[in-house]
Subunit: 452 residues, 2 copies
């Protein structure tokens, strides 16, 4: 079925036809109606996948990892074509770096797949169970969602990462990558689909939809009969586009406007370490700190030190009125700019931080409630009452006491891997690992029970 319209991925094309496949996939995406057909193919596969044994799913993942090594040349050739287009179209260095694959990166991707093999299979877990007074036995058992669609930017590694997580959790996956990575994604999806079917998974387990732009995105978002969940990995623009059109449930991984609050009872040396780590260890990610709130009673001692350290690390400091007054008084306001109202809700994703002074832990909680994005929030304090108030009062996926916000991550949390990070409250919050890609059903057993 190689090259047919309904099975762009998941078919066998041995030996280097990835370039042609890329075009075929692109064409599939552009032909109207085919998004629906591809999603239906995934739906059919999902019915089989739900009952596939762990051993078979693991064998499929091992086959994908092996195939990444065996077909490295074709994948890197396909990636080279995307890179050329990227350079020609003036893509920035950071984006080109995200797009780029090399032998070491392919090896790392294969390693990540093997890590998922090592994780426990969530399917079939009995989450809860009890016997009713009438003798009926009820079990709440974990089952796959069915078909998960992942929409992502020009990071080809996501093609494999997301596929491995979905297959391990018994879901079929619909991949919708960026057109900037079309050839890379096509080669990787093809390889993953082939490896999966060679290991015994049904055709349609891995489906790639690409090209066609917004119209096609809208069509995907309307496939509520065949797609159970959409996970968009992208910015606010993608979120807005989906919010306007989606009939399929969506888990948004929205911005991370994360705060560190340094309490009056904080160990200030520890506070400095945590703030510097949260802000500078990797400033371009969603769990990096964007804001620093400092209790007024430690502002004079802490602000000059932290502002100097941040400045020394190349971070632009934006201070509210009170913080600016303290810094000016201490002679440490060089290079510090005044924070505006627009700073507080903003996710910089870079070497910028806004600093505010608050009068209490309650004021910090209130500020975070108003401006935070519900991602990751931290308090530094030695005071149990302040820690408890912060944990109770802050409504976010992850609330830290005396630790950096940078730990919000499926890998760090011991989930093995993540397909995204949810800042919404329904279904799953925080890192989305294998279990978060599942639902459950109730199995009820009786011996002729009827309701009276």
């Amino acid at each position: 079925m190689a090259g047919t319209a309904t099975a762009g991925a998941g078919t066998a094309v041995p030996g280097g036809a990835s370039g042609e496949q890329a075009s075929a996939n692109g064409a599939v995406g552009r032909a109207p109606g085919n998004v629906a057909e591809l999603c239906l193919a995934a739906r059919r596969a999902s019915r089989v996948l739900a009952g596939v044994h762990t051993d078979t799913k693991n064998a499929a993942l091992e086959a994908i990892a092996a195939s990444l090594g065996a077909n490295a040349r074709q994948v890197l050739e396909a990636n080279e074509r995307d890179m050329q287009t990227g350079v020609e179209s003036g893509l920035g260095d950071a984006l080109l770096d995200r797009l780029r694959l090399d032998a070491a990166r392919l090896e790392a991707i294969a390693g990540a797949v093997r890590q998922i093999v090592a994780l426990g299979d969530p399917i079939g877990e009995v989450i809860d169970g009890w016997r009713l007074p009438n003798g009926l036995d009820v079990r709440k058992v974990r089952v796959p969602l069915g078909v998960v669609a992942v929409i992502y930017e020009a990071r080809p590694n996501v093609t494999i990462d997301a596929t491995a997580l979905c297959l391990k959790s018994g879901n079929a996956i619909v991949l919708r990558g960026s057109s900037m990575a079309a050839h890379s994604n096509a080669a990787l999806a093809q390889l993953a689909g082939d490896a999966a079917t060679s290991a015994g998974l049904p055709e349609g387990s891995v489906v790639l939809v690409q090209g066609g732009g917004r119209e096609e995105l809208g069509e995907l978002a309307r496939q509520s009969e065949s797609v159970d969940l959409i996970i968009p990995r992208g910015g606010e623009q993608l979120k807005a586009a989906l919010e306007a059109t989606a009939r399929v449930p969506v888990i948004y991984a929205a911005a991370g406007n994360c705060h560190v609050y340094v309490d009056r009872a904080a160990d200030l040396a520890r506070a400095e370490t945590i703030v510097m780590n949260a802000k500078t260890q990797r400033p371009g990610v969603c769990n990096a700190a964007e804001k620093l709130l400092v209790h007024e009673q430690v502002a004079e001692r802490f602000l000059p030190t932290i502002a100097a350290a941040l400045g020394g690390a190349g971070v632009e400091v934006r201070a509210d009125e009170r913080a600016m007054a303290v810094l000016t008084e201490a002679g440490g306001a060089d290079g510090v700019v005044a924070a505006r109202e627009e700073d507080w809700p903003e996710e910089y994703l870079g070497l910028t931080i806004a600093i505010g002074v608050v009068g209490s832990v309650e004021q910090a909680i209130e500020h975070i409630g108003r401006y935070g994005s519900g991602h990751s929030e931290a308090i530094v304090t030695a005071d149990t009452a302040a820690a408890r108030a912060f944990q109770l009062g802050v409504d976010a996926a992850c609330v830290y006491v005396n630790a950096s916000t940078r730990f919000t991550d499926g890998g760090e949390f011991g989930m093995g891997a993540e397909i995204g990070n949810s800042t919404q409250k329904l279904h799953a919050r925080g890192p989305l690992g294998l279990r978060e890609l599942t639902t459950y059903k109730y199995l009820v057993e009786g011996d002729g029970h009827v309701r009276v």
Copy 2:
């Protein structure tokens, strides 16, 4: 604040002003912009509610139950006005019966509230927890969703049932009842809000939005900043309206097109009891059986008996070709009509059943996969292999072995009560009890941990 625009419910109006309150509430609903304001009031209340102790929440529920007794006269007067309007506008008997309140029904509603008092508080439950290799302690702790909006038909009891479930689970509630029950709902929401605040819950914990029709429904469905979840309790029309406009996450309680499959290894006496119970014990509800599938090897023995029993109970039987042939052969096809393709996906909600003959448990699973609504599905069999295949292969919220589908219910399942029954896979499936009205957050504690 009685009668102000932003607090139609939750304010004190002692002594019989429920009629005026009803109008005030109606006016609130109709004034543009006020839906947003009311939802914001609920959002503010929810921040406080998340930290309210179980004792206080239980006291609020006790106060609501007591107030139903103390203010019975006003509530029944308000209900009388709705009933008069209902009669004048030609409402059918079944709908009038759903709308009607009397002293006994108010007592039953109060009893249901007291049952929720007796349930454990889900908030603060540690769902999971572990220590990371770096020493960070992670706890996954249950917290309220925040603000839950419930949209419901002209059943005034839902006003109190839903309020009690939301308050007990630490959520503020936005009630959007039917205009047919406007006076009843206004009186009940007023009473519940007053009782809640008198017991120490914040103003805005119970908010009523009504009147204004589709436009206002759309406005409510767009309050994604202040409303965390919408639970519509209504038909397919309401679902379609919400699907087209909602930006707030919605849990749909869609139709229940439930099947009973009688396997070749079924105890046929038991099968008859289960089918009759599932079909006739209460035919107007979503967990009643709408379809009967019979294995071909027992069709000749079972179909004439069950068709006669169903006919005797006033059930219209619609048979597929094979079932009709068996019945005709046995001389038991009197009154049986031919099933059409449109029968298979239909939810009759009445005394009708469609019967089909299948060749295997796999065919039954396939039929249910194609036409079922994912609600409740049952197999009757003495064969463990068939039972296991059915449990694994049927993708529904509740899968029964040798029991009636009628048990799918929060009360029956021991959850104490339910706010609805989800047929979707995201967040919660099956009966929606207290826990299903919650989300979680991760609390992470360290002693200066930073990411390396």
